[in-house]
């Protein structure tokens, strides 16, 4: 229609081909960090988190993390200014938390080591406001 199709273009992957296995070593580093966080959590109850954006990960690194951690028993979906996915991994207490914005881009990608990620808990203030709203509603419905 616009004739744009006639312009010859070539889509290439400008990154040099990664080493044979495509791993940067960072996935391995993260897995060891998770072990350290789990040790701290079991010993002292100290929770921890790793920001996956703070390290450059290749696609293969990601894949390795996905395969190694795998899916556990819990998968929660949060609908608040865009989606969020909270998955417990095969290792209880290790959570993979991914936040998306309203457009569906990832805005934060974290591994959390804790019993329940903070984002899943109902915040006390929200609970109090919800209670007030429900009371209000019942009051209005009284004949």
């Amino acid at each position: 229609m616009s004739g744009l199709d006639n312009i010859g273009t070539k889509v290439v992957n400008p990154l040099p081909s990664p080493p044979e296995d495509g791993l940067s070593g960072n996935a391995d580093a993260i897995l060891h960090e998770i072990v350290a966080l789990l040790e701290a959590y079991t010993a002292t109850g100290q929770t921890g988190a790793i920001d996956l954006h703070s390290l450059p990960l290749t696609l293969d690194d990601y894949e390795l993390l996905r395969i190694t951690l795998a899916d556990g028993e819990v998968h929660a979906h949060i609908d608040a200014i865009g989606n969020s996915e909270v998955r417990e991994t095969l290792y209880p207490g290790v959570w993979w938390v991914t936040y998306y914005n309203a457009e569906g881009d990832i805005v934060a990608d974290l591994i959390e080591v804790t019993a329940v990620p903070e984002i899943l808990k109902a915040p006390a203030d929200d609970v109090r406001e919800g209670l007030a709203h429900l009371r209000e509603l019942l009051k209005q419905e009284q004949p």
């Binding site: 390290l55 200014i81 865009g82 936040y99 959390e112 903070e118 929200d126």
Partner: protein, 352 residues
Amino acid sequence: MNEPDILGASLARSGISRRSFLKFCTAMASLMALPPSAAYAMADALKRAQRQSVIWLSFQECTGCVESLTRSFDPTLEQLIFEMISLDYQETLQAASGEAAESARKQAMKASYGKYLLIVDGSIPTKDGGVYSTVAGVSNHDLLVEAAKGAAAIVAVGTCSSFGGIPHANPNPTGAVSVSDIIKDKPIMNVPGCPPIPSVIAGVLAYFITYGKLPELDNLNRPKVFFADTIHDRCYRRPFYDQGKFAKTFDDEGARNGWCLYELGCKGPTTYNACATIKWNGGVSFPIESGHGCLGCSEPNFWDKGSFYKPLPVPLADNTPIITAAALGGIAVGTAAAVISRKHQTSISEEK
């Protein structure tokens, strides 16, 4: 309602759940390479914080900086920023005009004296008594000096207020200067860019409100969290630069193969900004990804540094050890980048 104007209450009023807010803080912390635990501290501190009183003065400018912020592709980002602050004066955005607007500004300045954040976009003309830009009969210079007195800190948004920008370009007919050329006794943070990236503006505001101070600054008073690396340090075309593969024209084979734009005048190697990582238009791409070199818009005097299409003089100023590491290939760049973000994290957590 006589609740104090705290952020938590204002979020509740506008129906933003605290979960949404925690999510916003996590994204901001990640953007600024703060440790994830900082997100909770940030959410907690912000919730209880008074909404920050902000006075925003626009001088010799094109309103591009305000456009960048308010037309950010993420409507929630814009909304959340305006929840975080109480914007007491902004000529483009406020409904009031004339006398009413000016008295609103004076009132806010009095009420939050010593506490408000002063945001400035645009340069300040100093020639001929500053007649080239006035608001309600007061020159930009006098307005700035008056408003700076009661400010806790000043944020210069955009290259014009940070360094003089385009009005300052040769022959600078209005004698335009930057905020820091005039104000010497206040903490000033420069957030340059023509315009700056919206989430950079949001990030530094969130930081100031959370910690009650400006983040760590570099030698040009730019927040290190966003301006520590050059475009070139983080450019995805960097492997081609290292291999010496350069596009020679905008439509040759090299350009089509996505090779480095250095010989077409890219200023990425000397430009500190976050475009290559945060990108533009909600993370869609950035100029180099669209096939054009970086203009260096976040650097002082970028307009007067010769043609945008003339290659930077070689050899490049010794460009940190990253170049040597990068010579080993893309993975080395990655490792260097990891080390750099780690460095940010430690310097920030030490600061607390």
